[in-house]
Amino acid sequence: MNKYYLGVDLGSTTSKAVIINENDEIIGRGITNTRANYKVAADIARQEAIYNARFNFLKRLLKDEIRIHPEYELYIKDIESVFQYLQFKKRLDSLLEQMHLTTSGNFPEDLKLEVHKNITGIFNSIEPSIRNDYITGDLGSKNQFFRDIVNEKYTEEVKKLKIDIFEPMMLVLDKSITPVENQLFEFDFRALVYEAMDILKSKYDGLGETVQTNDPSIHFEAELNLLKGNYLKITDSLKEHIESVAGHEIHISNMVGTGYGRALLPFPEDCIKSEILCHAYGAHAIFPNTRTVLDIGGQDTKAIQVDSYGLVTSFYMNDRCAAGCGRYLGYIADELNISLNELGPLALEADKEINICSTCTVFAGAELRELLNIGESRENILGGLHKAIVMRAISLIARSGGVRNEFTFTGGVARNQAVLKNVSDLVIKNYGKEIKINIHTDSIFMGALGGALFARKNINIELPKNKSKAVNKEVV
């Protein structure tokens, strides 16, 4: 039987899960937002990683077909998108039900009726819109998680209503979304994939009517058109593979939990590891020459020094102040009323360097408003704010012992292109051009990957303390 190892990184903002095989290859990744119920967040991330692993298996099985017909890869990608939508839909249905329940228990009779009516109306309108976003792949990286997507779409609709209904409508959502977010749903992989294929059938069949002129994504359309004629040919062999993949037992031989909420994970004590070790180990596994790791997470920033074996020799972290962490960016995004993912691209458009002196998140917010008042552009202000957060990180690195070659940048914030640019610039400026800077597309998963690697290693090493408590748990 194949053995798999799971690493769960329960961060302050997002929870990540990575599954690796015995060759230390990543076979599945899952991510969700961290919520009040940590166990659910960890379980959802794990569930997602398992589904993702199955889709990856599917791609591997279809390797030959995909080589001949590259458009099939798009088909699998579409299936995965719709598959995610179907999971989303289940939670959305539950939210609708919960919102009606909340309404019934909270408002005076006359208001109740209006709220019920509005909720039904809004859901009737946002549900198809979200479905369309998933099917056409329009969701992009803008909003990833249930809460964000629902919040955005719902708020947009509520704003169209009478002003005096705004507060009750938002109150219902606020009161209902948390319990729904904390629910864990079980899905049948096979059934959900078939359902997704059915939904896609209508998408592809309807392709004839698509207007294609002036569309910039011409290549994409070309693949879609190819699919239109061909996807049915793959369906038979796909069905066979789906059976095999759905039946494949993903046996998790051991797991390790890490991250800010690790102590709250329902794992045995010996399966809990510090995120400092996990980030360093994950980064070192991907880039074996790594000697310095910078991890900017939601709620703390860590500068870690490792040796040639991936062993941490020292670390320095800021655990007293949010300036310099992901939360700082989150706060700024809220202040500007834009999404977190829009910050980086806007900051990159800055045409002038603005110095943000504030070292405090809250006062940076005040400084931001002041600068807006005197007419400074959002882009320039954001450029300054990004530089400020990176300056904090660079000072942390200095305190941890400086940058040694090679330097690897991990954590969710590494996805922000403006942060990345500032980190690269400042590392080169302070430590020289010869420093090799590593960034990986999986940077946000480094902690979970390190955890999974520890999970695998613990079995090999057979620590007397760990051996007795090794977990043999069936996950699906």
Binding site: S274, A285, F287, Y309, L311, T313, F315, D319, G401, I461
Partner: protein
């Protein structure tokens, strides 16, 4: 771990010694004994005894207030009185205690000072502290002895001469005047003989951590062991008796192969550490527990040398009484320069076969904390040992963040554990992880 801790004879002895000192202090005004306020690093307790005076150590009172959970309100009172948030919390705790009637650790009122003796070593705050005490006790004479910093890494004859001159021309005349007694060098020499005996014993005691398992924790228990020597008993027959007894008990632990005693019984040694910096006093037990729960035993610490560094052979010398008192002051840990402190810590790591070095950086304490990151870096690079850095405060409970410290310590202990595993792997010739 055993639930009950049996009080050793040495513990009883120490308790009696301290109780007697505070009894003597509380009745000092009746018995006519003169009281000298002074500091632990560079304390001239032999000289104080030679004049039959009693010492009061404000830092000891502050740390005792910290352990008895009173420092928080004392500090707030001192801040209300006008002290800034950034002032050393020992100072604020002490001032707060004085503002609240100067009730000492045993619940008895401490007498006002008859002399303020400032032999500050490496800590400029001491000077400011006594300037404040001077205002609180107007008219009380101040004797200040300027201790030259070991900037060049050694004590030169000129430095000793400079100190002896101050002792002869300023300190001793003031002590004669306050005590009403003539300086008696023969008496001082006798006291210094006992001081040297005490110093021999304390070096032997802290050397027992060379054993594995270490019979003692040289930091968390170490701070209790240095109690008598640091609060004025160095150079007394009681102190020789106490340290003889303590040494005997520890040797017995070595013979039985026992590990250190903690509030929850004996700890099984898993990691051996050297610690730089003072401990946190307000959550001392919690802080200690974070270590012994992981089997982390401190085999050497710089803090236990704060009242005197005897490892490298320095002893009070009855043949050179004032010279050796001067050299003692200059040789205190916080009066060493950074390369000296680095080399001392490195020697501790080597001699006591430590797995790593941990720094507890104290927000309040510049004399300890300045340069600690630099020292840590130098040691890490030179010795290739895992180093850890935590932050807390002496007696301000607002600066002890349990979860932050726990998070860093957990990571640090896992670092040590991981190193053990990988080192084992390397020895077994298993190739290291080389990427995905």
């Amino acid at each position: 771990m055993a639930a009950e801790v049996i009080k050793e004879k040495s513990m009883i002895l120490q308790k009696e010694m301290i109780a007697k000192l505070f009894d003597d202090l509380s009745s000092a005004k009746d018995t006519g004994k003169k009281v000298v306020y002074t500091f632990v690093p560079g304390n001239l307790s032999e000289l104080i005894h030679a004049f039959d005076m009693l010492p009061v150590y404000p830092e000891i009172n502050a740390l005792q207030s910290g352990m008895r959970k009173q420092s928080g309100s004392y500090i707030r009172d001192a801040e209300k009185f006008g002290f800034s948030e950034d002032v050393c919390t020992y100072v604020k705790c002490d001032i707060g205690m004085m503002l609240n009637g100067n009730i000492g650790p045993t619940g008895k009122k401490l007498p006002d000072p008859d002399l303020l003796l400032l032999s500050y070593t490496g800590c400029f705050t001491f000077m400011k502290w006594f300037e404040n005490l001077e205002q609180l006790y107007p008219g009380v004479p101040v004797a200040m002895i300027h201790t030259p910093y070991q900037e060049g890494g050694k004590i030169t004859p000129e430095m000793t001469e400079y100190m002896v001159k101050q002792l002869r021309e300023d300190v001793i005349p003031k002590m004669e005047k306050v005590s009403g007694k003539k300086y008696d060098e023969t008496k001082l020499k006798h006291i210094l003989e006992d001081a040297a005996k005490t110093e021999d014993l304390i070096v032997k005691i802290f050397d027992t951590t060379k054993n594995s398992p270490s019979p003692i924790d040289a930091y968390f228990a170490g701070v209790y062991y240095i109690g008598p020597i640091n609060i004025g008993f160095r150079g007394t027959p009681e102190s020789v008796e106490y340290y003889t007894e303590l040494y005997r008990e520890i040797l017995e632990r070595v013979r039985l192969g026992l590990g250190p005693v903690t509030p929850e019984g004996e700890v099984t040694e898993r990691y051996r550490l050297v610690v730089e910096g003072p401990p946190n006093w307000t959550s001392f037990r919690e802080f200690w527990k974070l270590f012994y729960d992981h089997g982390a035993v401190i085999v050497a610490s710089s803090y236990t040398k704060v009242g005197g560094l005897y490892d490298d052979g320095f002893r009070h010398d009855s043949t050179r009484p004032l010279e050796s008192l001067s050299e003692y002051c200059m040789n205190c840990y916080t009066n060493l320069n950074l390369p000296q402190r680095i080399s001392h810590l490195k020697k501790c790591v080597t001699d006591y076969r430590a797995d790593g070095l941990l720094v507890n950086s104290i927000k309040s304490c510049n004399s300890f904390s300045a340069g600690q990151l630099l020292m840590m870096r130098a040691i890490e690079e030179d010795m290739e040992i895992p180093v850890g850095f935590i932050e807390s405060d002496l007696v301000d409970p607002r600066y002890f963040s349990y979860s932050n410290i726990k998070n860093r310590l957990d990571s640090y202990f896992q670092m040590l554990e991981q190193r053990k595993i990988i080192t084992k792997e390397i020895k077994q010739n298993i190739p290291a992880q080389t990427g995905i």
